[in-house]
């Protein structure tokens, strides 16, 4: 949280039209995650689409009853996304080239520097020391900028609630498990250890080790290691990421990097504009009484009517 507090401090001071501008722009986009943050390595080559993770998530997070049973595999006919009723979904992707279809679990990737968090104007999101991106529904206003900002289209919103609609997304089972050092429910139920739980730094090593040991099984890319400044959930795959619905065009910069050019400009405007325009005013009205006087002047003019 330190960094966020730092940003906060900088912007507050910026809003007060004072110092702190250069340091803020330096800080933006340089956060690489907490050292002891946990993560999940998703080895999509192991996934057979049993949907147990979906069931476990549903029970753990006390989500509403699903539309179809969790062992109904007809859901793979279409591509699904996370919803207010499902924090995680598994999709099937045709890999082509005579390869078997690939399955990929989809949930919040718990970015190191999350777009949702940086876009939230009430600071409802928190990146915990353990690596989870959690959400405080009590202060959420419901602007849904986080949903716009999420490059993975993860947060859902309980639109159907008239009086307490909130954002619904995977929270890494933070309150019930991660906080106590336990893996999330989906990891625990996964029969084939598609999901490996561990320190993010270790998982990166393990992933590259797997690629090195069985190069035929994987393409040489760990999605999420660098993407968007790094995510806590990372993906190994037999096919290029875009074949399993992972956007490769997101780049390695966190979302906030795109915004920093504007944020960097804010304190400048706040400090320079008043002087600049007051100066313009003095110039434009220099040949007569300036300031408040000119109003009385124009009033007199008007008054002649």
């Amino acid at each position: 949280m330190k960094r966020r507090d730092f940003l906060k401090g900088c912007l507050i001071s910026g809003a007060a039209a004072s110092l702190g501008v250069p340091s803020k722009s330096l800080a933006v986009g340089s956060f690489e995650g907490y050292p002891d943050a946990m993560g999940i390595l998703v080895d999509t080559t192991r996934c057979v689409g049993c949907r147990s993770c979906e069931a476990a998530c549903n029970k753990e997070q006390k989500l509403p009853e699903p539309d179809v049973p969790f062992d109904d595999l007809s859901v793979f006919e279409e591509k699904r996304r996370t919803t207010e009723k499902a924090y995680t979904v598994v999709n099937r992707y045709e890999a082509g080239d005579g390869k078997d279809p690939q399955f990929r679990k989809m949930q919040c990737n718990h970015c190191n520097e999350p777009g949702c968090l940086t876009s939230c104007f009430v600071n409802a999101y928190t990146k915990t020391r353990e690596g989870a991106v959690i959400y405080d529904s009590k202060i959420c206003v419901g602007c849904r900028t986080c949903m716009v900002a999420c490059p993975f289209n993860i947060p859902a919103y309980s639109y159907s609630s008239a009086f307490n609609p909130v954002v619904k997304k995977c929270i890494f089972c933070y309150h019930t498990r991660l906080k106590y050092g336990k893996p999330p429910a989906c990891v625990e139920i996964c029969p084939r250890e598609v999901l490996t739980f561990g320190l993010r730094s270790d998982l990166i090593k393990i992933a590259h080790e797997r690629i090195r040991e069985t190069p035929d099984r994987y393409i040489d890319h760990l999605y999420g290691e660098k993407e968007l400044g790094g995510t806590s959930w990372m993906y190994l795959a037999a096919v290029p990421p875009e074949k399993i619905g992972l956007d490769e065009t997101v780049g390695n910069e966190p979302i906030i990097s795109n915004v920093k050019e504007f944020l960097g400009m804010v304190p400048m405007v706040l400090t320079i504009w008043p002087a600049l325009f007051t100066g313009f005013h003095l110039l434009a009205t220099r040949n007569k009484d300036h300031g408040a006087d000119h109003h009385t002047h124009s009033e007199q003019e008007d008054g002649k009517k």
Binding site: V122, I139, F163, G303
Partner: protein, 451 residues
């Protein structure tokens, strides 16, 4: 109204009736007409019937939205979290409301007194635009009653929206103060006018700051979604500049459009000063708008070149982009250039309308039509969502009209002491008619002398 005035009815434009007695508030509200006259003219107006039908359908839907929730009026899309309320309502309304700070700046900071007759319209247009943008926001927010949270409870100062919230809130207060001068005149509170006069320059300068920032900030909001906004409408470096610069012609043209509509529908409310200066002011505003448009076009092209996005022009989205640029920028630029040169005010007004539509199209494209261009489906709004948008815009128009009918926006409030010698006022008015122009000329001459 015209008929009534022709038949001898007087409309309120001063604190006192011709008989020397002060107007009561009720009389002021009824424009100085009798209750029967007022109702009769309202019923005669066909627009009121249209609005009546819209409200009969739309207002229950708005109430329903707050009872049954957003899922009742929208498709509850997770992929398009911002629907028409923001894409069409808020993002369309705010740039068209930049007139407040522009005319404020021109008149108060740069001393362009030739624009003064329309300054109040600019300010009011700004205020109402922002106010109804907030109304749209309230319709869209999941928990609108928590809107004050970013001000009082929880701060997310690294978020662009945080800046927008603060700036819009502050700027709305500033604009209320600016417009309240007219209100104080109308209601008869000279002390209020004096108080506002004292802080006008400060408010105007803060208006510039706040406007620059949050017009830009609305654009910067989209830099959170680099993968979702279509590359032609997206630019990490230029997004906020695009939104800010396009709001300049947007606001000016909106003032032209509103004054045009007013001159067609409520010219009885214009005083001589406004009537006489409107064409001249329209041309001045159009000059400003064409400068803005030219800048906007250049920056648009630079941003395309900067990220080398020319290839997208070959796609369907590229063609759509060109349509937007043609309607909103290039055609109006040509029209404005031609008509400014030949002083053809009618064409200017048409060009201004195109600019306004172009702004709407641009914001709608950015936030809605081309948003999520990588997704395989396009979102079609729910009919209730459309109905709410139309209703809110109708309320906007009705409130706009209500204020224009009453407050001294198009006319100058006659102070009590000037009224007493009626003949003086009359002769003075004739004499005064060209005064603003003369004033401008005088300033120009002075400026030259000084150099």
């Amino acid at each position: 109204m015209n008929k009534l005035i022709a038949s001898g009815a007087t409309v309120v434009d001063s604190p006192q009736k011709s008989s020397g007695r002060n107007w009561t508030i009720m009389e002021k509200l009824f424009l100085g007409l009798s209750f029967q006259q007022y109702i009769a003219q309202a019923i005669r107006n066909p627009f009121n019937w249209v609005f009546g039908i819209i409200f009969a359908i739309g207002i229950p839907i708005i109430i329903g939205r707050f009872i049954f929730g957003l899922s009742w009026v929208t498709h509850s899309s997770y992929d398009y979290p911002w629907g028409l309320f923001l894409g069409f309502g808020l993002f369309g309304m705010v740039p068209l409301s930049s007139s407040g700070f522009q005319l404020g700046t021109a008149c108060e900071v740069f001393g362009r007194h030739d624009l003064e007759p329309i300054e109040r319209l600019g300010l009011l247009n700004g205020l109402l635009g922002y106010f109804f943008a907030v109304i749209f926001l309230l319709c869209d927010l999941g928990q609108p009653w928590r809107l004050p949270y970013p001000m009082v409870l929880a701060y997310g100062p690294a978020a662009v929206l945080f800046l927008v919230a603060w700036h819009v809130a502050t700027y709305l207060s500033v604009q209320i103060a600016e417009v309240s001068v007219s209100f104080f005149e109308w209601i008869g509170l000279p002390i209020g006018i004096r108080a506002i006069r004292k802080i006008t320059l400060g408010m105007t300068v803060s208006g510039i700051i706040l406007s620059t920032l949050h017009q830009g900030a609305l654009g910067a909001l989209f830099t959170y979604a680099p993968g979702k906004v279509h590359p032609l409408w997206y630019s990490s470096s230029f997004q906020w500049i695009h939104f800010f610069v396009s709001s300049i012609p947007g606001g000016l043209c909106m003032v032209i459009v509103v004054s045009t509509i007013a001159s067609k529908t409520m010219s009885w409310r214009f005083d001589e000063r406004f009537k006489d200066s409107l064409d001249r002011i329209t041309i001045s505003l159009a000059k400003g708008a064409s400068m803005g448009l030219a800048t906007y076009l250049v920056i648009k092209l630079i941003s395309i070149a900067h990220d080398n996005k020319w290839g997208y022009f070959l796609t369907g989205y590229g063609h759509w982009y060109l349509v937007e640029i043609m309607i909103g920028v290039i055609i109006p630029m040509a029209l404005l250039a031609y008509s400014i040169h030949h002083k053809k005010v009618a064409i200017i007004r048409f060009g201004a309308l195109l600019v306004v539509l172009g702004i709407f199209l641009n914001r709608l494209n950015t936030a809605y039509i081309t948003f999520n261009w990588k997704l395989p489906y396009r979102e079609i709004p729910h009919w209730r969502e459309v109905a709410i948008c139309i209703t809110v815009y109708s309320i906007y128009i009705v409130v706009y009209r209500f204020i224009l009918y009453r407050l001294p926006i198009f006319y100058q409030w006659k102070a009590a002491e000037e009224l007493a010698p009626a003949y003086v006022a009359e002769t003075e008015t004739r004499h005064q008619r060209r005064a603003p122009e003369e004033l401008a000329l005088a300033y120009a001459a002075k400026a030259e002398n000084d150099q």
